[in-house]
């Protein structure tokens, strides 16, 4: 089991049961578990949605869409069954928070899922785990079985007249099925490619029924919000960004790990105080603020609050909360290549700009990094990425294009340093690091 980290600045909401044996359903109940859902049954959907709206909770999957509002889009009446979908596909490089939730607090996901169901009138929930998290499925399934055994799932949950079923499912190893509509295709047993929108999932989703899809962390936050009250939760965070967030700090930090901090927490402080600064006291070269798809920030750009709006203003995105710290030993061309390798590999291949764009970015960057680059390649890399941006079928294309553009714009010198058949000038420095 991964070692848990902590820091005094942390505000433990979602992570408060981490390391406290809450996979055991009785222990979970002891730790205030399955309280919120009983209250929700009692007070009804309007109340739930009002609390969720008041909480200013914004989706933790990456796009930061207000959760309460999303739930309110689901039509009250529907011919087809409605569904709740928990997105546990967590695959964005630099992101490893949902993993901890499933590992330490699976019942929080179940409870949030039931509440979401009550809020929108769904009777079935699906928990979709990333293919590589197959080992977490055992934990999740045990938790589901325990909840059924206690009458928390199934017919007439908690003695009420509500029914709710939960089914768990794993992916088959594709980042793209984290995208909500591709996830639905995958769950339906089809090839993991996105769907045309509109219609949006809230209207036509899984099996054609209205569907609420939320990130696992979003869902795990729900019971806490109802327990403490939406407004109280909102107050923890910053303006229009309620509550806390699990930040996954990785890379060249002294104390990497997952920390739960209030929304809007200063990035610089997060790196230098919470994560103990740059490893070995080296110079900071760059920070990827929200998972590999978010444009890189220069050290001069990191004195910002970590919420969706402030990071957006700084020209990047809060994304999935994966903060990657890069020190002076990193070759940014190689980092760009590594990033594009990922997106090339994970492109579902459906649309031309992403399928071909990532393929050729990878081909070009591979040659370029190996010393075979020409000056015009630098512009061409940027040109390719700019011509993908905003034109692909789903945001994966943007996820590949945006960081690439930022790498070229912000680290053009490093690209130029690779010209004229020179081997990577940063390679030596890296070897030193490793030694």
């Amino acid at each position: 089991m991964p070692r848990l980290v902590s820091h005094p600045d942390e505000v433990k909401v979602v992570s408060r049961r981490f390391g406290r044996g809450a996979t055991n359903i009785d222990r979970y109940i002891e730790l205030d578990g399955y309280k919120a859902v009983r209250q929700a049954i009692e007070k009804g959907p309007e109340w739930i949605i009002a609390e969720m709206k008041a909480s200013n909770l914004r989706g933790r999957g990456g796009a930061g869409f207000p959760t309460g509002m999303k739930w309110s889009f689901v039509p009250k009446q529907s011919e087809k069954p409605k569904y709740v979908l928990v997105n546990g596909d967590e695959s964005e490089p630099g992101t490893c928070k949902d993993h901890l939730i499933f590992l330490h607090d699976p019942h929080a996901v179940i409870e949030g899922c039931i509440v979401a169901g009550l809020a929108v009138g769904a009777k079935t929930g699906f928990i979709y785990l990333r293919g590589e998290y197959r080992y977490l499925l055992t934990i999740m399934e045990k938790a589901i079985a325990d909840a059924y055994a206690k009458g928390f799932l199934g017919k007439g949950i908690f003695g009420s007249n509500f029914d709710f079923e939960i089914i768990s499912q794993t992916g088959a190893g594709a980042y793209e099925v984290g995208e909500e509509s591709a996830l639905m295709e995958s769950l339906e047993g089809k090839r993991g490619i996105p769907r045309i929108r509109p219609p949006f999932p809230a209207v036509v989703g899984l099996y054609g029924g209205p569907t609420v899809i939320n990130n696992a962390e979003t869902i795990a936050s729900v019971s806490h919000i109802l327990n403490m009250g939406g407004e109280a939760y909102a107050k923890i965070g910053s303006n229009r960004n309620g509550g806390t967030r699990l930040f996954c700090i990785s890379g060249h930090a002294e104390r990497p790990g997952v920390y739960e901090l209030p929304m809007g927490y200063n990035l610089k402080k997060m790196i230098y105080e919470v994560a103990g600064g740059v490893r070995g006291g080296r110079q900071l070269k760059a920070v990827v603020p929200g998972g590999s798809s978010t444009p890189v920030l220069l050290p001069s750009e990191i004195d910002i609050g970590m919420d969706f709006d402030q990071v957006g203003k700084a020209g990047s995105m809060l994304g999935s909360g994966g903060v990657v710290v890069l020190d002076e030993t990193v070759c940014m061309v190689e980092f760009a290549l590594r990033t594009i390798q990922f997106y090339q590999h994970e492109s579902c291949g459906w649309c031309i700009p992403c399928r071909e764009g990532t393929d050729w970015l990878k081909k070009t960057l591979t040659r370029f990094h190996a010393g075979g680059g020409e000056a015009k390649d630098i512009d061409h890399i940027q040109y390719l990425a700019e011509n993908m941006l905003g034109r692909t079928f789903c945001p994966l294309g943007d996820a590949a294009a945006m960081p690439t553009i930022a790498f070229v714009k912000k680290f053009r010198q490093e690209f130029e340093d690779h010209l004229n058949g020179k081997p990577c000038p940063y390679a030596k420095q890296q070897e030193l690091t490793l030694a």
Partner: protein, 782 residues
């Protein structure tokens, strides 16, 4: 839906709300490039060629998925859009092999055209393109992955259009690849729709690949010679050593009643024309029993003399004539006219595959009750009784599937076996193989314990249909058709169609290849009309049908048997002995079982090598145009005329050609070519007399139009290529009850998707496909 008004490139346009922006733009001539969008198939939004700027939208939007809304402001002609298109093409070309000089699609490739128009003249890419070896998936389908641009049209046309789902997508990213769902080979209907719809040269057909360049072919639109649906096919022909050879069949221009549809036969089974066994010299049996080639003049002289002597010495009734279901209307009409008015015999028949007579009789006097095949694609409800359209009437099946997909049509089936169309049916019941007639009466209200609740429910559902199309197969004949028609006519609005097997089965029937019926189903005894035209030699007595002719021959009562494009010996298992005392003349392409028994064999052209008209089983009259040519053969029309002429008949009385112009017997080939047809259109449009030769089918068509009931169509429309629905409505049929119990003599061919009667035996490709699919189904059954 209500119209909305929007602005595109500063132009105000209106379109019904809900129209796709791309379609709305195309309607007003604003072209939006598209690879993955394909009218009638599901939306993909995959190629991103159709991106446009819509005001108030942060990103460019795909015009192929965006519906027009009131006040929408769209830009398609800006630098931003030009750049987006160009970049998309650069990307798609990056991994494209650019082997255009040898690619089948070169010259008719959408990628080439787009690149030309939207410009991606250069490339900055220097790395190696991804490569995969070409694969063969079936006897007809090849796949070249590097050329594929992943537009998914093939997958969709197979899934949605064909309801076969033989193709899928495997892998992901730039490794994505179209692949057969059945491992490495296609287990499918081999229709080639996937090849046809491919915008590039990724899918190619065995018959065409690497054969020619598109611009080296002449493209001639004519009608498929196989089943009774009558698809228009555009044949690509090229000069060969001995004529003009067909190298490709498709209908990319989507003209004709079939749109772009063709089945495996229409697309590939033209190769019988090039079969090595093709006869190209007239053959006359020698005293030693062997055939020897003779000149055309000699052959015709021998035949004409035999015919004349038989008629003069033993009477017209000693001559038997069997016509074809694959000849043109003009040939069928002329054959029966010559038989009746020159040979003086009513012993004329053809291979009947269904009972058109009964339907005509049942609908006598009713107007507009016969459906066009287009109705199968638009009627709100269709009842298919008997037959297996997927196997026997592929276009009908396509129309029905499309109708269900696009218009949510309701299909009802009653059949004695499981048929694939059940997948689209709203309800479907099984009835005993010998229970069709009883079922027809049951529909009419006759209770019958054989038919249970499901049958009653079906009957109720049919009764509740405000508008119904009833299509039935050869399982129903004679009085069963009367019963079905009576039921149908009791409903508010019903049309009918009866399914015959070959391209001109219906035409042969309409043209009077019957011993007891004149063209238009007019009883032979009926005074006036055709009788008056055909002159005094015509007998008033009904003649013999096919089976009776062979019986008469066996009794030594048939002096001459003239078989024009049919193989009754094969079908009926006639042995040589039966024809011992009969002089047999066979006009055919091949040494068929019947030809083997003949005294004279005259090699003829097939439907692809002649002009004229044919009528599909729904009564849609269409123009046939000469596409191919073969040295050494003559059309049946020409041979019929020349035999009659050599017999001393007045050719002008037989064919109303060029009044006062001398018959130019040597011009047949020229006059029959497409060239002459074009002149014909022009001359006809100017009210001039185009028919210079008695071999001009237009001359015969004049008479058909003048005399055959139901054949009152728009000639100019027909010549321009629009099918004309002929309603042989039986209004000429007077003594209806008299032939109520006439023998129908129908013998359905039981062809499948991969067979086509005798002709099919000579198509190597069709045989290869049949063997391939037979193996597949054996494996599947294991």
């Amino acid at each position: 839906m209500a119209d909305v008004t929007l602005t595109v490139d500063g132009k105000t346009i209106t379109a019904p709300a809900g129209t796709l922006l791309l379609e709305a733009c195309r309607k007003v001539g604003i072209e939006i490039p598209a690879f993955c969008y394909y009218p009638g198939l599901s939306l993909q939004a995959a190629c991103r060629m159709c991106l446009v700027r819509i005001e108030k939208m942060p990103k460019l939007q795909t015009a192929c998925t965006t519906q027009v809304t009131e006040g929408m402001i769209v830009a398609t002609d800006t630098d931003e859009i030009h750049q987006a298109r160009k970049a998309m093409l650069e990307l798609v070309l990056a991994n494209h092999p650019l082997d255009c000089p040898v690619c089948d699609a070169g010259g008719e490739c959408e990628l080439q055209d787009m690149t030309f128009k939207y410009g991606a003249g250069g490339s900055q890419f220097v790395e190696i393109k991804n490569h995969r070896e070409e694969q063969q998936w079936s006897p007809v389908v090849f796949f070249d992955r590097p050329r594929c641009i992943l537009c998914y049209r093939c997958v969709r046309v197979c899934n949605e259009g064909m309801d076969v789902a033989a193709l899928g997508i495997q892998q992901r990213n730039s490794g994505s690849v179209i692949a057969p769902n059945d491992q490495t080979q296609l287990d499918c209907e081999q229709c080639g729709m996937c090849i046809d719809i491919c915008p590039v040269g990724a899918l190619t057909s065995d018959t065409y690949r690497y054969k020619t360049r598109p611009w080296e072919m002449t493209h001639v639109g004519t009608i498929c010679t196989h089943c009774g649906d009558g698809c228009k096919t555009t044949l690509g022909v090229r000069r060969s050593d001995d004529g003009m050879q067909i190298v490709r069949g498709d209908n990319r221009d989507k003209s004709g009643l079939n749109g772009e549809f063709l089945c495996v036969k229409g697309r590939y089974a033209f190769d019988f024309a090039n079969n090595e066994e093709r006869l190209t010299q007239p053959l006359v049996r020698q005293p030693n029993g062997e055939f020897a080639p003779v000149t055309w003049e000699d052959a015709i002289k021998i035949v004409a003399q035999k015919f004349r002597v038989a008629r003069d010495d033993r009477g017209g009734a000693s001559i038997g004539v069997i016509g074809s279901t694959r000849n043109t209307n003009e040939e069928a009409y002329l054959l029966q006219k010559v038989a009746r008015s020159a040979f003086g015999t009513n012993n004329i028949d053809h291979h009947r595959t269904t009972d058109y007579v009964a339907l005509t009789r049942a609908l006598a006097g009713k107007k507009h009750r016969m459906a066009s095949i287009a109705d199968a694609g638009s009627a709100p409800a269709i009842f298919v009784l008997g037959n297996d359209p997927t196997e026997q009437h592929p276009l009908l099946a396509w129309n029905l599937r499309t109708n269900v997909r696009h218009n949510s049509a309701r299909i009802y089936l009653a059949n004695h076996r499981d048929i694939k169309l059940q997948r689209q049916a709203k309800s479907s019941i099984q009835i005993p193989a010998d229970g069709y007639a009883a079922f027809a009466r049951f529909l009419g209200g006759e209770e019958n314990s054989v038919f249970g609740e499901d049958a009653k429910a079906l009957r109720d559902a049919l009764r509740n249909e405000p508008s119904l199309l009833i299509v039935f197969g050869s399982e129903l004949r004679g009085s069963a058709i009367d019963a079905l028609a009576e039921f149908g006519l009791s409903l508010p609005d019903t049309k009918f169609a009866c399914l015959g097997d070959y391209v001109n089965s219906r035409g042969a029937a309409d043209m009077g290849l019957y011993p007891d019926l004149l063209p238009g189903y007019v009883p032979i005894e009926q005074e006036g009309g055709l009788r008056a035209e055909y002159g005094g030699r015509m007998s008033q007595q009904a003649g013999l049908d096919v089976a009776q002719m062979f019986e008469a021959a066996a009794r030594n009562e048939l002096a001459v048997l003239y078989v024009v494009g049919d193989d009754p010996a094969e079908r009926l298992g006639v042995d040589a002995d039966a024809l011992r005392n009969t002089f047999v003349v066979v006009q055919d392409m091949f040494m068929t079982a019947t030809a083997k028994l003949a005294d004279v064999v005259l090699p003829t052209s097939n439907l692809y090598e002649k002009s004229g008209t044919v009528t599909n089983t729904f009564g849609d009259l269409q123009l046939v145009k000469k596409a191919a040519d073969r040295a050494g053969v003559r059309s049946d029309l020409e041979l019929i005329v020349r035999i009659a002429d050599t017999m001393g008949e007045d050719v002008h009385a037989l064919v109303p050609f060029g009044k006062g112009v001398r018959a130019d017997m040597g011009q047949s080939r020229g006059v029959q070519s497409g060239e002459a047809d074009r002149h014909g259109i022009w001359l006809a449009a100017h009210n001039l007399e185009p028919k210079l030769s008695p071999f001009d089918p237009n001359a015969v068509l004049d008479e058909i139009q003048r005399l055959v009931p139901g054949y009152n169509f728009d000639r100019m429309e027909l010549l321009a290529g629009t099918s004309q629905h002929v309603d042989a409505d039986g209004s000429g049929v007077m003594e209806i009850s008299r032939f109520a119990n006439r023998p129908d003599g129908a013998m359905p061919s039981a062809d499948t998707l991969f067979t086509s009667g005798t002709l099919g035996h000579y198509s190597e490709k069709l045989n290869e496909v049949e063997t391939f699919q037979a193996k597949k189904s054996m494996v599947a059954a294991d």
